[in-house]
């Protein structure tokens, strides 16, 4: 029986703050943010997963469910501290594939 594949969106993120954050701290902040705004049901629908995070550049790629891209953006906008320190997570680009996201390195954010 054919099963429809879940569509995803990949968000290129940049974390800024008064200190450097580890992958675990950022992933926890995102998860807590989703739970704060949308609860357990929202977390199960948004399905945020960190694909990669470069701690030296404080940049990473987050995956979410395509139909909940706007909710994911709202969550990221709402994050004002990570591991108890003031911080901001900003979305630089959005794409449907990791490959396209990486190839768009220097181009402005796409409309998705």
């Amino acid at each position: 029986m054919p099963v429809r594949r879940t569509s995803r969106r990949y968000l290129a993120l940049r974390v800024t703050g008064h200190q450097m954050f580890t992958t675990k701290e950022v992933a926890e902040a995102v998860q807590k943010g989703v739970l704060n705004l949308y609860g357990v049901q929202g977390l199960s629908q948004i399905e945020p997963v960190f694909i990669e995070f470069y701690e030296d550049e404080q940049k990473g790629i987050l995956r979410c469910n395509r139909s909940h891209l706007r909710d994911t953006r709202a969550v990221l906008t709402f994050i004002t501290n990570i591991a108890g320190s003031a911080a901001a997570i900003r979305v630089e680009r959005v794409s449907g594939t990791i490959k396209a996201l990486k190839s768009m390195e220097k181009t402005p954010e796409t409309e998705m």
Binding site: G17, R73, A74, T80, E111
Partner: protein, 234 residues
Amino acid sequence: MRKFIDLHLKPPGDAVRIRAMLELAAELGFSGVATAFDNSPPKFVREMALSLGLDLVDRVDLRPRNTGDLIATLRRIRRRVEIIAVECHSKAVARQAAKDHRVDILNFPAPVSARKRVRFDRQEASLASGSNCAYEINVSDLLRLGPIAASKLVSILRVEVENAKRHDVPIVLSSGSENPLLMREPRGLAAILVLLDVEEEVGLDAVSTNPWGMVETNREKLGPGFVVPGVRVV
């Protein structure tokens, strides 16, 4: 492609931090920013914005004590600045500001306790609709609050946004930040409106079409030869 504008930055006095905020705004994808100074922005701020490719808009935030104060200030400054916002701390001031054609933006206090006294209710929305005033939401007001207080403010904002939509009052979404860490990318700002049950396009209009429309109309009014909307001396 949409052009985005952050119509409410509150940069601190020193040049280094102002530059940091303007650079960040350009990096985040804004084409324009409005800085709230007491008078016109200093010359060096204008030059900084120009070098970063940002359109700098003059904005003044008025905090009148009473309606008389508001009217007197409007008479004095209307011809000098592009955007006039009024922070409504009392119902009388809010009503006067909503019906005055010289006011562009209505702003309400962030604390929930103050919002119980004065808010963008139906009567306010009806007056604002007749005078082309916009209703502004500062996202930093929400970001500064803890989850419980934020939830209360979101429920108030939901009613206010509903009033604005019902009376066709344009909604303007700004960061309202004094600090680069509270600045967000335009689509991130627009995404906040998902909490207020606002459609995506309406949210994007609140950071692009609505504020730019207001700025362009006011620039035309301040330009030479303007008589009334649609009539100018050539």
